[in-house]
Symmetry: D2
Subunit: 422 residues, 4 copies
């Protein structure tokens, strides 16, 4: 190991190295070639990928085991692979691996170790309103008697940049929530690395591959030539009464907006009173919604919250924005599917009884907006190698090229036939 | 004024008397005679009503004006009438009236005067979990320099009983929210007095009479022979893991349950995670709902939150309980209409990610239930002169006997025809 | 066999007797005692039932086999039982039984034997507009060389009375369609005999018992004390422009209206143009529907066509009428649940582009109505031993007393959970 | 007037010339330039348009008057304009015009004059199954004493080609039905001329301009530079059991498929039994629908039948195909929005009880398919100057560039607010 390397978890006889991501070489940018089928592109690597970020579902032993196998499989079969892990994962598994793993350096993360929340937050501080990063009491070394306590869990303001600059390939082990979390690590980036997602345990709708297929899947991902669906995201910004962008320190100056994979929604939350929201399309007034809330979803998100609220199911390759009301106080508010080049605005009406409503991104609390403030949403443009979440297409259910139909039938029980009791 | 009378707001030269409700004689119990039309009964008074509780919408000057007119009209035309008002209303209008008004004595109310909340809470302490009445810091007289500060706003533990024991007739001036609030004053009682509701300003769905009709309406109400729709309510109880009733001090030993006019709902509230709720009908497992929440509504409530959540519209004289999911994570959760003699149970699943979900009654926060705890709901039985909210049928839109059709068309814009731009 | 008996299929050495229903003694009228549970009554027989009409699904060999077993079981265990069958069934199975079966005499039935339609029509000539019974060419004896050809299939104008006057107990073997067909045999009667329904093959929603339970079920039915759900029906009448009842020869003068078990609907049928229908509740205009059609359903029918059209699911013991539009050209036409004591009227608008729309009863074509004509619908009153279809409650799925919940979950896949692929 | 001109309605002193379309010079092909706004293109003419086909709503005197004014306006302001009319229109108005009008020659049309059907059929013989054009009895001249009887109404097999080859600009006067009819005249063509549509009387959803704006609108249309929305159509083909295309004589060899503007649907029609339809996406089985029928709609059609059946509203510039079931017998059949480059197949199941179901295109009966036969549907590709229906964007409601929002609010009463009775 070179002199220049900052080893910040000491490699004892027991534990292997946990190294800092900046030590890695910069990422390799793949290209995406269009196919006749507008839905899919072909992934090509200029040189094989090396830096693989593996994100796993929390607190499920079997997933932890799978991660260890996968890391070994990668290192064994593709020796130049470097494994990147989120800090807490790195800390928890590195001693089972006989090669170093990479993670965020302490200064780039916010959450003190040991990590205690029962469900992990995703990219914190996304909310631009919250200009000061909350002071998280740092546990003193004496408390744990080990420098390792400084291995912190979550992404800080610089963390996103590090993942972004170094990750060639992103692998998720878990369900839809894990994919959403992994996507959130790149929510401020325009160039999300290709994602290979393994459904562990309960199948999710977004997971593409079965764990049993992992050798084959990794092979495809490394070789290039794999089919990729680039899922469009939403860009989200909050604006004040005067139309001025509300920004916060969390944002990359050069990158810009936060992105959502499923949806942005505003909701009355705990307030008993209906939210009153003015909706604009390209700046023109569309309607005043009196409702529990409003969802703006991607086609990917059409099978998530929007579905529960009565929205249609939209195939991920139909470029569009979905506008779906949540429990609207109207008999005639039908969900809308709008062109992807619209700007949609949700503005909290001056008439709203509660002073604030809640804004969530991909099911995570993001902040609140007050009367007169607004959330603006655009579909992210997919442009060359920028934009979208490139998801490696899988084989779940033996289907050749479109897992979507299989997901509808197998998972969502779409048009499930009446009949025999089981 | 008799010796026995406790005058607790001194009748100065400017202000007239505000007297305490216990001074009034006990209420007169009307009878309800069935008609051929199962939907309606005929109201008969053994002797004319005298004690009239008028509840008004807050903070709307025109409604305050109407209340003053109405009180004068009642006193002028039915001289033995006694006007009962809620404390803050009493305090605010009594000096415009040249006869005394009655209100709750200070010890029976909880909220310090002056009343500052922007929207008034309805029956406080309904939540049985909250066993201790919060200590509301009583403003000292010195703070305001007037005994009047002791005129408190809201119903305390004994207040409901006082309203219940003394009110012959209940008149509301406002919208649906005002009727819901008025009903909440009797939510622990089995014998709600007949309600005469005037729609002020924006029409509501429950308001039966136009303000312009008030002389005529009052005439009908006093004379007897008026048509009355007895709206069924829900009884609500919270039970713990062991099936033991969770009670609180707020409850009348002899009366029992709290009642809802529109609905009881549980909702994930601020938690980003879907609620997981087990639903039982008469103790038998029906289904596990994964959703934003669940609504159990009366037919009256079928045009309120249940409607927004996709429920059918049920005529108030169809005895039934509605089970309507809020944004269920399922393609196949259709709203149900169940018999009124069912017991419905919503039990928070042990699998629920958040520790608690919120319970609301008629749109007002009621408390929360934890994993394993449950809300049980029955339809209130209508039995002789007990049960239901007897609403005097009105003439809105010139309809003879069923305002419901008019409300659907006029207010809910039911099946509103496509066509001409306006 | 007594002298007076008219034997109209000669009892040869091979075939056993097929006798005429009028030979049977008059039916025994059971009583229905209310239970605490408003949903159920207890069935009591003054003397044990004897005349059992068994109706079976057509063209399914296994069902034919079950019928033969059942008839033998009945005769073996309850020797005074007389088996009544529909003409074609009687003809097809009587030679396998060593006791006589009873059926309609030829003059009371309309369909020539052998019966050839691939799906059996239910009660023909229900349509009052069709005043002349179509001349069905009677096959000459020479064609078949046997008098048996006169055993005709279907109910003629007098058939319904015969079934009605003689049947103590009605047993169905098949699915929902078989129950609907059996009910249609009594559609002009106010006193439908108790129905014991066995689900054969694909379970239906209305079938109460599994075939395996038949010994036990028959035992319960004969003993009395069985639980019975009386399913409310609809009465249907067609009226012309002047409000005059449109009648036909088919009707029993003394009995009156036809009844529907599931629903009455009007539909544009083959016409490409939207139907324009005025809807009245108790004679008061409710709305003008521009739609494919309109359904008026019973709670029993709430899980049939009304469900497919977006209606709520209503428990069969909630007395009510459902009004559900079929593809309404409106964003704001929500299904309604109305009181059972309403009269609902569907009147074809003068503006309707097509001259006629189709009227169906329980999924069977009934006739058409022209502009200005109307269909009026009432819920049948349940009054003492009259009214409703008394269905013996079963044990499907081991549930004690309410198969409805089991049917929702098991058959309708109500709130079917997302998840695992199978 | 040139020698070569075939004058087939003699220009008497009273009537002006009705000339045959082949006399006209070939059409001028406009170009469509993309704008930043993906929704709209700019229309440019190489030389100004001359041949204008005006299609009007039938049987409405005011519309007839408007047509006469419009024709005069065109001729007066753009003297080289030639007016093309449908045969019956030509016959009915030509004598009020002091310049000739053009129409289909008798041999290219099918319907005898005088035209008697109360509602006009659109493109006849669209059904490929109907291989022989029905023999329409030609009225003899003696019957009417005039050659004019040969002015026939409707498009024959060659008519579509004539309209297609000669029409520069298409103007409609009427509602949505008139636009659908006009589009049907070009349903076998890939290059529909730009359409300028005036809403007459009851506004429709597709009409873009108010009649009062006609001078301005015509000016814009002629000048070029107008904004145009190219509405995607569906291509429809019927295939037999062996996957062989079912064709008929009606089809242009060189052009191919019929196109739909709103939707293709299959429906049980008059059959009482649910249709059983297998649905395939790109040849892969999606689901078996048991339903009244199935709709495949364009985004344009999302506000037509699909809306009534519960589909989402899709903006016309979202390239997609909508799959919306009609009254499906399933709780879990949610409408789908699929990519425009899918092939959707609706195949009548071998299990279907009725032998045939009906196929309709844009609300017009098209034919039937039997068990094993299938309807295949593609979205038409928009490619250079081919494909789609180029609709000139209007100013209805003073909106600048997107009438769609105005149409939702003004016509569909989208999210119409609850409230005040009118
Ligand atoms: N009432 C509802 O349906 C609500 C839904 N959500 C959804 O949950 C998402 C967050 O997911 P988790 O963090 O896992 O929260 P979670 O643990 O509460 O699970 C949400 C569920 O949604 C599924 N899901 C997520 N994205 C999906 C997609 N694109 N298509 C189909 N299913 C999908 C997951 O598999 C899981 O079953 C949000 O983006 C939002 O769409 C959030 C709140 C309420
Ligand atoms: N998304 C939604 O539709 C929500 C609805 N609510 C409803 O609001 C009710 C409380 O009402 P407010 O205190 O006035 O709150 P609010 O001021 O938030 O107004 C609720 C709206 O519901 C109307 N409303 C109330 N009861 C009704 C009924 N029975 N039929 C028809 N319309 C009715 C009111 O006129 C008002 O327009 C709750 O009982 C609940 O039903 C509460 C939360 C969310
Ligand atoms: N789009 C739709 O859903 C349509 C439904 N129908 C229904 O079909 C009924 C006639 O049934 P069949 O003669 O068997 O015709 P069918 O053979 O076409 O079957 C109709 C289906 O509905 C089911 N069904 C019937 N009554 C039911 C009930 N009360 N609850 C739940 N499921 C029920 C049957 O089991 C069968 O699966 C009509 O009364 C009507 O309700 C009729 C036409 C269209
Ligand atoms: N239940 C329903 O909603 C049914 C709807 N239709 C629709 O009618 C169309 C044929 O129209 P017409 O010949 O005028 O028949 P029609 O005279 O029966 O009228 C159909 C109605 O649909 C409207 N309409 C047509 N296309 C539309 C569009 N793209 N967006 C919004 N509204 C639209 C028309 O303005 C008219 O109000 C069919 O393409 C089909 O979409 C046809 C049958 C049933």
């Amino acid at each position: 190991m070179g002199l220049g390397r900052r080893r910040w978890i000491s490699g004892s006889s027991v534990y292997n190295d946990v190294l800092s991501i900046p030590n890695l070489e910069d990422r390799i940018r793949p290209t995406f070639t269009k196919t006749a089928n507008s839905k899919l592109s072909i992934l090509t690597w200029p040189t094989p990928p090396r830096n693989v970020l593996i994100v796993k579902k929390r607190h499920v032993p079997v997933v932890r085991g799978a991660l260890v196998s996968l890391a070994r499989h990668l290192k064994g079969n593709y020796p130049s692979t470097n494994i990147i892990l989120e800090p807490s994962t790195a800390h928890s598994v590195h001693h089972e691996l006989d090669f170093p793993v990479y993670t965020l350096p302490p200064s780039e993360s916010n959450t003190p170790f040991p990590y205690t929340q029962s469900t992990y937050p995703r990219t914190p501080q996304l909310n631009p309103r919250q200009t000061h990063i909350p002071q998280i009491p740092q546990p003193s070394t004496s408390e744990t008697g080990d420098k390792a306590i400084n291995v912190v869990e979550e992404l800080g303001p610089g963390g996103e940049r590090l993942y972004h600059d170094k990750t060639d390939l992103l692998i998720t082990l878990g369900g839809d929530g894990t994919i959403l979390h992994a996507a959130s690590l790149f929510s401020a980036c325009r160039m999300v690395p290709p994602v290979l997602s393994f459904a562990m345990g309960t199948l999710g709708f977004l997971g593409e591959w079965k764990w049993e297929e992992h050798a084959e899947a990794v092979g495809e991902a490394f070789a290039g030539g794999a089919m990729v669906l680039r899922r469009e995201r939403l860009k989200v910004g909050v604006y004040d009464d005067d139309g001025k962008r509300v920004t916060g320190e969390w944002e990359f100056e050069s990158i810009g907006d936060a992105h959502a994979m499923n949806e942005v929604n505003i909701h009355r939350g705990k307030s008993p009173h209906l939210a009153i929201v003015e909706v604009f399309v390209d700046g023109r007034f569309l309607t005043e919604a009196v409702a529990d809330g409003m969802i703006i979803a991607t086609p990917t998100g059409s099978t998530a919250y929007s579905l529960s609220s009565g929205g249609s199911i939209v195939h991920p390759s139909v470029s569009s924005l979905l506008l779906t009301p949540i429990c609207p106080r109207s008999l005639s508010f039908r969900p809308l599917v709008l062109p992807a080049d619209c700007v949609l605005t949700l503005k909290l009406s001056a008439k709203n009884r509660a002073g604030k409503v809640e804004v969530s991104v991909d099911g995570r609390h993001w902040g609140g907006i007050g009367r007169g403030e607004e959330v603006r949403v655009w579909a992210e443009k997919i442009d060359g190698d920028k934009g979208g979440i490139p998801c490696l297409k899988g084989r779940i259910g033996g289907r050749e090229d479109d897992g979507w139909v299989g997901g509808l039938n197998g998972l969502l029980k779409f048009n499930y036939p009446f009949g025999e009791e089981e």
